[in-house]
Amino acid sequence: MKAFRHPYVLFGGLIVVLLIFSALFADWIAPYAPDAINLEKRYQPPSWRHWFGTDEMGRDVFSRTVYGARISLGIGVSARTLGLLIGLVVGCISGYYGGKVDLILQRFVDMTLAFPFLLLVISIAVIFSEMEQDLLGVLIALSAVMWASLARLMRSQVMVVKERDYVTAARAFGASDFRIILRHIIPNSYVPALIWWTMGLAQAVMAEAGLSFLGLGAQPPTPSWGGMINYGSPALRIAPWVSIFPGAALAFTVLGFNLLGEGLRDVLDVRWEEKAPRSE
């Protein structure tokens, strides 16, 4: 509860809860179906009937923005969680066993981190896009790139924790490596992983939108914020609302995750910053 007294956690948390609520109850919140076309109402400016106006097909931008939260949050959270699982497993094995296993695994980490973030994500996503598995591609691409920084972080954590007396005691009692990692190491080194997960959600959501903006994420008519910004951009002069509102929703989401992540980092007093470069 102490965490919620921190203004960043409070405001960030409120934004995130609001977004999750919108994504879950989009069917009730959105006044129109996201793919309901009405060609007579193309490019209508914001009004009481259409709060965020309409797009090139006469679809309600507000409804599409609300439904778009499902894709952005869904892909962002899933990719980060998958990256967390991969990073956790690789980091724990690498740090716990050391030696050649560590050497080989860390070279994979080096290679992954040697790629500029967005470029590697694009390189993987484009293959899946070719197979017409765009959303799966974005999910796999993001998690395949994000795990590396956590693997490195967890490795250093595990290397410290595995030398503690309670781990030695567990080993002396005959506990298996799997049990030691699961019951003793992870519970004593999960805090940085939790902060990593939270702080990177903003990056994951932004990267998903970036891919959709490049035409590699959710394909029309599925509403995704990056895709909506992309398809609205040619009409920016006559109908700026088509791109501006989904972009504002995206920025609001990223702000929420950033606030929450930074607040949690302050509250849990973890002096750590992900050194992953920002590719735009």
């Binding site: 790629f115 070719e130 002069r237």
Partner: protein, 309 residues
């Protein structure tokens, strides 16, 4: 230092080999034969077969991989499926535009970000500090492609102060908006990092000593405080500059900037794998190279850092 540099350069070989391997196999994972993409939809089966034989697509994968490595060693990145021009030639033609944008964005970011951070640190919790930190949080949270569109709409279309997109005659007026859009996140990060680093050093004993010895406030701040707070700032500058040079894909797309990033977007839409792979490889090389330069810079900025030990 020389040993460290040699080790780092040596270490780049397996990392680059890994990067090359990943990009090669990723492109081969794509459905369909590259020869089909190269020949185009209207080509006959004979033409496709001719391309397969000519470029070795009919050979086993490991042979193709070996040939790919051998060609890379000779600086041959392959032939673009779309334009049928050497990829290396396209990169050499387009990269200067990307470099120009990256350098401009970094100049904007360093000037504004470091200044904002210094002002914040010198007036902690004052209105200037709070304003700078609120803007920095907003800057970090704003996606570059959306900010680009906002700038384009308000500054170019509504106010008509600057051209909305393109390269035009290469004048400054075409550069300002993309550079500001690309540099905004760095401005925000640099402001925060400069503030945090400066606050850490501002209470150090050596600053009091410098003041006691009669050093003026500007000298104390610039020569004694900032010089000691600069390392984390240089890290951010280095990482961001490497990211910018290694493809400002989204910004270049928004502003129709004729750089390598935008060309890569076009290559993606046409599934031009040699161009995608060649560009990714080139960007990785730059990325790794700049990270190495930043590491070396540390030793010059902080003489306490000695890599040989």
């Amino acid at each position: 230092m020389t040993t460290y540099l040699f080790q780092r350069l040596l270490w780049m070989i397996p990392v680059l080999l890994g990067v090359v391997t990943i990009t090669f196999f990723l492109s081969r994972l794509a459905p369909g034969c590259p020869a089909d993409a190269m020949a185009g939809q209207r080509a006959s089966e004979e033409q496709r077969q001719l391309i397969r034989e000519r470029y070795g697509f009919d050979q086993p994968l490991h042979v193709q991989y070996g040939k790919y490595l051998w060609n890379l060693l000779r600086g041959d990145l392959g032939i673009s499926y779309d334009s049928h021009r050497p990829v290396a030639e396209i990169i050499a033609e387009k990269f200067p535009y990307t470099a120009k944008l990256a350098v401009s964005a970094m100049i904007v970011a360093v000037l504004l970000g470091v200044s904002a951070g210094l002002i914040s640190a010198l007036t902690p919790n004052g209105w200037a500090d709070r304003t700078a930190m609120v803007f920095s949080l907003l800057g970090i949270s704003t996606p570059v492609f959306w900010l680009g569109l906002l700038l384009m709409y308000f500054v170019s279309m509504r106010l008509q102060w600057l051209p909305p997109s393109g390269y035009g005659d290469g004048g400054l007026q075409y550069l300002i908006l993309p550079a500001v859009a690309l540099g905004t996140q760095s401005i925000a990060f640099l402001a925060r990092m400069t503030r945090a680093s400066m606050l850490e050093v501002l209470n150090e004993e050596y600053l009091r000593t410098a003041r006691a010895k009669g050093a003026g406030p500007v000298r104390v701040i610039v020569k004694h405080a900032f010089a000691n707070a600069v390392i984390p700032v240089v890290t951010i500058i280095g990482l961001d500059f490497a990211s910018y040079l290694s493809g400002s894909v989204l910004t270049e797309k928004v502003f129709s900037w004729p750089g390598l990033g935008r060309h890569m977007v076009i290559a993606i839409s046409q599934r031009d794998y040699p161009l995608i792979n060649g560009t990714v490889l080139f960007f990785c090389l730059i990325f790794i190279g700049i990270n190495l330069i930043v590491d070396i810079l540390y030793a010059y900025l902080d003489p306490r850092i000695r890599y040989d030990s």
